[in-house]
């Protein structure tokens, strides 16, 4: 078991699973702290994955791809805000609609723009290549994990630290927390909580968009229908379990990422694919159950 955990190939694959979860969960955390019950992360990730492929294909640059992913996700955040905050729709209903909208729009545009169904795969999709930094590869044990990953992985690590400072010290971060914890006080202070929540949703959308970009132009170079495959829901579980605090969020998504890459590894050992496919969800359920159980016991 220890051999498996220290295997460089295994370590190198952890960020592939961790990065999308972490980026999406950070987005979800911002909404959670702002008091927006956003369970539409799944749709925002999917939108980002598609927009990333569109951008990377037409501009020939993964950075344009990532940018368009962030913008497309942000647009979904604005749509969410319009229907939830301004028109007063229930957050759960709007989330479900956002998820369906993303599934519909991406498959529709897949046919309109690329004239294919199911999968779009082309050598012209300019994906991210691995970033090698001097010194990183030499770090014992963690070297293979830290070196040679997509730029979005490093971005996501920086964002965890930034998010911590953001919630603790930044004016907008504090306003976001106030919007979640005590919107009346925020209002009394002359700030419209819904405007703060709109900003939170936009940031959340952009982060989820980047999570999608990691899936479609960093992990692979293609778009597949519904390629978000439940990651948005796993990110929501991480957010719920940590109440949106950045560092705990990092560790729990790291745990999920390690389990995911482990199950990916054991697929090579002759397990039927369906069993390794369900691992991430079972692991999420197991962690969720264990922590909920522990919460309940510690409260009584």
């Amino acid at each position: 078991m220890l051999d498996l955990l220290l295997d460089p190939a295994f370590l190198a694959s952890v960020p592939r699973f961790l990065t999308p979860l972490l980026l999406a969960a950070l987005g979800g955390a911002i909404c959670e702290r702002a008091g927006v019950f956003n369970i539409g992360l799944e749709g925002m990730i999917l939108t980002g994955a598609f927009a990333a492929v569109v951008g990377a294909y037409f501009a020939g640059s993964p950075y344009v791809g990532a940018l368009s992913a962030a913008l497309a996700g942000l647009a979904m955040g604005v749509v969410f805000a319009e229907f939830n905050l301004r028109r007063g729709g229930d957050a759960i209903v709007v989330s479900i609609a956002i998820n369906l909208l993303a599934a519909g729009l991406t498959t529709y545009l897949l046919r309109v723009i690329f004239d294919v169904t199911g999968t779009f795969n082309s050598p012209d999709i300019a994906g991210f290549s691995a970033v090698h930094m001097p010194g990183l590869a030499g770090i014992p044990v963690l070297g293979p994990l830290l070196d040679g990953q997509s730029p979005l992985f490093y971005l996501s690590l920086i964002l965890v630290a930034l998010a911590h400072v953001f919630f603790a010290r930044h004016r907008l971060g504090l306003r976001i927390r106030a919007a979640g914890e005590n919107p009346a006080a925020l209002k009394a202070g002359g700030v419209n909580p819904d405007k703060v929540r709109l900003l939170a949703l936009m940031m959340c959308g952009a982060l989820c968009g980047l999570a999608g970009a990691q899936l479609s132009i960093a992990n692979v170079n293609l778009f597949v229908e519904n390629m978000s495959a439940g990651r948005g829901w796993i990110a929501i579980v991480a957010v719920l379990l940590t109440r949106g605090r950045p560092w705990p969020l990092f560790f729990i998504t790291l745990l999920f990422g390690v389990v995911d890459s482990l199950s990916f590894r054991v697929q090579g050992l002759g397990m039927p694919q369906q069993f390794t496919d369900m691992m991430p969800y079972l692991a999420t359920l197991a962690v969720l159950t264990a922590i909920s159980w522990w919460y309940r016991k510690s409260r009584t």
Binding site: G89, D90, I92, I96, L100, G104, S292
Partner: protein, 350 residues
């Protein structure tokens, strides 16, 4: 009841006109994107949803409505009891899978096999829903994420079973063997529509009677309107929760069995996931603000959008995926106007 329906339909006429205008503007925008001929597209839509030779397409719409309405009734029971069971898909798969396997393996007179298969499917659906319920009630896992996450394992379990031990290898597809032909639900005379729709009609009547005329239904609804109140007056909230979820799951399981015995006659990998029956059922309930007697109408409406979109693709080459966009846009505009406060969990539970 009538006052809520009234609230649903009345409201500001100008606002409703604006809503409709938005929905159509978005649709036409999407069609403009590919330069589809509007006239043919619209004609294709209506013939795809309601036309066809000897109304073949109308029958397809009704057949699809059967499953959507069934799933809608299933989640409606949960939603009205304040339970955010969005794991209908898993319960549907459990029901379809188990009923198909029972029918394939169980020897005996066809009617008995069919009946046992349906009962087994309902039990499987109920069990899968109860699993999420037990996790919420005894462990504290929120039903919303618990029920949703349980959709995935069962999907892969079903996929594994029909890909390996129970695969009809000769067919070359990832699917089980056919269930015995004598157990297939018969068609109505002269049309290609199985009698599954009658089963769902029975369920619809039963849920309406249950919701409005029985003490249990009243208690469950009370629990949905205010869990704290239900607890305070001494209702057995835990028992109500688990029983309601079991009923939801059993209906979903029945729908899975109808899909097997009425439509596919076997379990095909992905057959209950791809068409998004469970999610369409959820939005069909949300569209009409969870009013039971309107649910069949809205289920039929969404089924017609899906088959109509397929017709639009045949007639004017508009990708049929536009149906999903249409549904999402309708829900965004309409449901945000009607079912807001009904669904949100009270802030203490968040």
């Amino acid at each position: 009841m009538s006052s809520r329906a009234g609230k649903l339909l009345s409201g500001d006429l100008a606002a409703w006109t604006a809503t409709l205008a938005w929905i159509f503007a978005i649709l036409f925008g999407l069609m403009l994107l590919i330069g589809a001929p509007f006239g043919e597209a619209i004609q294709g839509f209506f013939s795809g949803a309601f036309g066809g030779r000897r109304f073949a397409f109308l029958m397809a719409t009704l057949s699809r409505s059967t499953l959507i309405i069934g799933m809608a009734l299933s989640v409606m029971l949960s939603f009205r009891a304040g339970l955010f069971n969005i794991g209908g898909e898993g319960q549907l798969i459990a029901g379809g899978l188990v009923s198909a396997l029972v029918a394939i393996m169980l020897p005996g007179p066809p009617l008995l096999v069919l009946a046992s298969a349906i009962v087994a499917g309902m039990a499987a659906g109920a069990a899968w829903a109860l699993l999420a319920g037990v996790l919420q009630v005894y462990v504290g896992v929120p039903l919303l994420v618990g029920s949703l996450l349980l959709n995935f394992p069962i999907r892969f379990i079903a996929s594994y079973l029909v890909a390996h031990p129970f695969r009809d290898v000769a067919s070359g597809m990832v699917q089980s063997h056919l269930v015995p032909q004598e157990t297939w639900l018969p068609y109505f005379p002269g049309v290609r529509l199985d009698i599954g729709i009658l089963l769902v009609a029975v369920v619809a009547v039963a849920t309406i009677v249950y919701s409005y005329k029985t003490t249990h239904g009243y208690h469950a609804r009370l629990n949905g309107l205010s869990g704290d109140f239900a607890r305070a007056v001494g209702l057995p909230v835990t028992k109500l929760t688990l029983q309601t979820l079991a009923m939801s799951g059993a209906i979903a399981g029945l729908v899975g069995a109808i899909a097997v015995f009425g439509i596919h006659h076997r379990y095909v990998d992905g057959m209950l996931v791809q068409p998004l029956y469970a999610w369409t059922g959820i939005i069909a309930v949300l569209l009409v603000g969870m009013i039971p007697w309107l649910v069949p109408i809205s289920g039929f409406f969404f089924a017609a959008i899906q088959t109509g979109a397929a017709g639009m693709e045949r007639a004017a080459e508009v990708p049929k995926e536009i149906a999903l966009v249409m549904q999402a846009v309708i829900i965004l505009f309409v449901a945000s106007r009607v079912s807001g406060a009904l669904l949100s969990p009270p802030s203490s539970e968040k």
